[in-house]
């Protein structure tokens, strides 16, 4: 491994759905990364996976660790920072300009206004229910037996979007059951679900001035159907931050970089 690629900091994003980690070099470039489904024992998972990452990146125990995500308090020997700060840092490092960042996470959705210096100028989050989060899609797609990897293809095949009026996860689930019973095509329902979620996220984003770019991070950004629905709801182009799933972990690593 060359000096430039030598890992100087690690970042862990222990999310509610997925566990992510990166190792970065002195320039802030990612030299190694890991993405795993989140396990209930976050502390044990982190201990094991960080050891793997340290080996991959050639980072000994002296290389500092930053942690974010809902499980951050279970990450031993790490500096803990909220996802708001870390996503903003990670996104700014990649996009190099201010803007509004949307992160649709498993447990909550964050809209962060990144200032000219990469600072968090303002932020907003969904209230405490699961409406408008990645969990909304996950629960209902599970009910429809649509694998997450095939979501975008399903939505793309839809001739038309079927209106899903409820944004409450529980009510939407029963609404979808009724729509299926009425014989509505699954593809159209999937497209409709994306529109429902996008409208909820757009309402949250609407509380912030969008004079810069609109960026998206988080695992849901890997779903092109969601990006398209969100762009439609906002009436704006939505740019995906490179390696969207790793943005939080990258921000955590940048925060502890010597």
């Amino acid at each position: 491994m060359s000096d430039a690629a030598k890992a100087v900091a690690l970042g862990v994003d222990a999310g509610s759905t997925t566990w992510k980690a990166v190792a970065i070099d002195a320039t802030g470039a990612i030299v190694a990364s890991l993405v795993e489904p989140a396990e209930p024992r976050i502390g044990a998972q982190t201990e094991r996976a960080v050891a793997v990452l340290r080996t991959q990146a050639g980072a000994d125990a002296a290389v500092p660790l930053g942690a974010t995500g809902y499980g951050r308090k279970r990450v031993a020997a790490a500096r803990s920072l909220t996802e708001i700060t870390c996503h903003a840092r990670g996104a700014f490092a990649r996009m190099r300009r201010p803007g509004v960042l949307i992160d649709v996470g498993g447990q909550d959705t964050k809209v962060i206004r990144i200032g000219a210096a990469g600072d968090v100028a303002d932020f907003s989050m969904n209230d405490k229910c699961a409406a408008g989060t990645g969990r909304f899609l996950e629960v209902i797609l599970g009910r429809l037996h649509v694998p997450l990897g095939e979501v975008a293809a399903f939505a793309a095949r839809a001739e038309r979007s079927v209106l899903v009026s409820s944004t409450c996860t529980v009510f939407a689930e029963s609404e979808v059951v009724s729509l299926v019973a009425e014989g509505q095509p699954v593809e159209g329902i999937v497209k409709g679900l994306h529109a429902a979620l996008a409208s909820r996220v757009a309402a949250l984003a609407g509380t912030m001035p969008q004079d810069g770019g609109v960026f998206m991070s988080g695992g849901v950004a890997l779903n092109p159907a969601m990006v398209e629905a969100l762009a439609g709801a906002l009436g704006r182009r939505v740019e995906i931050v490179p390696d969207p799933q790793l943005v939080g972990a990258l921000g955590a690593a940048l925060a502890v970089r010597p």
Binding site: Y70, E83, F92, G118, D119, M125, K128, L254
Partner: protein, 450 residues
């Protein structure tokens, strides 16, 4: 009646003060033993400054208030009163006053609200109603209260200057207790109150004097009312002076302290006991300010708080902020009892009480609230604000997104909207709330990232 009166006077003048003295001695003794032996629970100082000595006197004052209240009905006339009611009109008639909102705050601090609320939710009261209302009605239905017992009212006194909910809440109380309800209806003020608005409220206050005399059976001479107004005005000014010590850097106390020390001006306004207490508190705060004794150990960032506190989470929130050097040095809520009351003029009881009580912050438009917040941000030199979006107080929470934006645009104040409830912990997601506050605090500390 005579027996009750003797009992009441005995508690108020002898047994109560004796109990307080014994309590104080016990406390002093425990502290002395701790000092000598070094044993016992040491007071956790960090991240706060030295605790306010006055707090013990506040505890005595409020304990005495609720203790005498237990024996008040049947001895003296009792009125249950909303926090924004022109109580000065009732005081000369000798009413003992109970403030269900203050009682609700006590219940909330003890985390009793869900239990009390569920008692009336079963009767059909919606959980979307104000938690104070649900808690109070639940306390009435179950008889449960941390105060031991609340005296039965002879009169219910309700003023709509804080919200419309109080009207329906007090009507439910009137139905339950079968006692008269007096309403002071205050038209909402856009800009300044119009002459016909003032006349409308003034007429009601005039009528209120008659009702108070009739229910209490006590005739009130005009000079007695003037005297109460003088006392009330002095109390308001003392409270205002206490709050203004927060302008000192570092502030000698925290906004959370001010929420606790608000109790007398809310529920004992217009009494000498209230004023005597605030003289003690003011002396202590001014002394701390002079000597640089801080409310929190390391005040780095000064904040404004908007709306009612989250009573059930007060300590946790205060600690979380103080640990990071964040201090609430002013709050719009505690300021509300320092502001409009200053309009009281003893020479014009009805007219000035009308002006004071129609112009409370919750009965005025959003531009006025913005002006008040901006003035406070400047005078107290704050860098940030937390706007509590209170599920239980819609009139206070409406417009907060706009207020937040305007504070940012016009003063560069970073602001956070925190969704919670002032009394019902079931409506607060503490994990999410803490995350928002931590993110808010982190946003003050960001070095320019790469």
């Amino acid at each position: 009646m005579i027996t009750r009166r003797v009992q009441y006077e005995l508690i108020a003048r002898a047994a109560g003060p004796l109990l307080m003295t014994i309590n104080r001695w016990q406390g002093d003794l425990k502290r002395a033993v701790r000092r000598v032996t070094g044993r016992g629970p040491a007071r956790k100082a960090a991240p706060f400054g030295p605790p306010l000595e006055s707090t013990r006197k506040l505890k005595d004052l409020m304990t005495m208030h609720y203790l005498t209240g237990r024996y008040a009905d049947g001895a003296v006339p009792v009125a249950w009163v909303t926090s924004g009611f022109p109580v000065e009109i009732l005081r000369p008639s000798g009413f003992f006053t109970v403030y269900p909102e203050n009682h609700g705050a006590v219940c909330a601090v003890r985390r009793m609200v869900p239990e009390l609320s569920e008692a009336v939710e079963k009767q059909g009261y919606s959980r979307d109603l104000c938690a104070y209302a649900r808690c109070d009605l639940g306390s009435v239905v179950t008889g449960k209260t941390p105060a031991g017992r609340l005296p039965r009212p002879d009169l219910l006194a309700c003023c709509t200057n804080i919200c419309q909910t109080v009207l329906y809440w007090y009507r439910a109380l009137a139905e339950h207790f079968k006692v008269p309800l007096v309403l002071v209806d205050t038209p909402f003020v856009y800009g300044e109150a119009k002459p016909h608005h003032l006349q409308y409220v003034r007429d009601q206050l005039h009528e209120l004097r008659t009702v108070a005399e009739r229910v209490s059976g006590n005739h009130v001479a005009p000079e007695e009312l003037e005297e109460i107004l003088k006392v009330s005005l002095a109390g308001t000014r003392l409270w205002d002076a206490c709050l203004k010590t927060g302008r000192t850097k570092p502030s000698p106390w925290t906004g959370f302290d001010s929420f606790i020390h608000l109790a007398p001006i809310v529920s004992m306004r217009g009494t000498e006991e209230c004023n005597a207490y605030y003289r003690i508190l003011l002396d202590e705060l001014q002394d701390r300010a002079r000597r640089g004794v801080p409310g929190i150990a390391n005040e780095r960032v000064r904040l404004l708080w908007d709306n009612l506190p989250i009573w059930f989470n007060l300590r946790e929130l205060a600690t979380l902020l103080a640990e990071h050097g964040f201090n609430f040095v002013c709050t719009t809520y505690t300021n509300a009892w320092a502001e409009a009351g200053g309009l009281i003029d003893p020479a014009d009881p009805e007219g000035s009480a009308t002006r004071a009580y129609i112009h409370v912050i919750l009965n005025r438009d959003l531009p006025n609230k913005l002006r008040t917040m901006k003035r406070m941000c400047t005078e107290y030199d704050v860098q940030g604000a937390i706007l509590h979006s209170d599920r239980s107080c819609k009139p206070y929470s409406i417009g907060q997104i706009d207020l937040k934006d305007r504070l940012a645009q016009e003063l560069g104040i970073k602001a956070l909207i925190l969704e919670a409830c002032h009394a019902d912990q079931r409506a607060y997601a503490s994990e999410q709330g803490e995350m928002r506050i931590r993110a808010f605090m982190e946003s003050f500390d960001q070095a320019t990232p790469s």
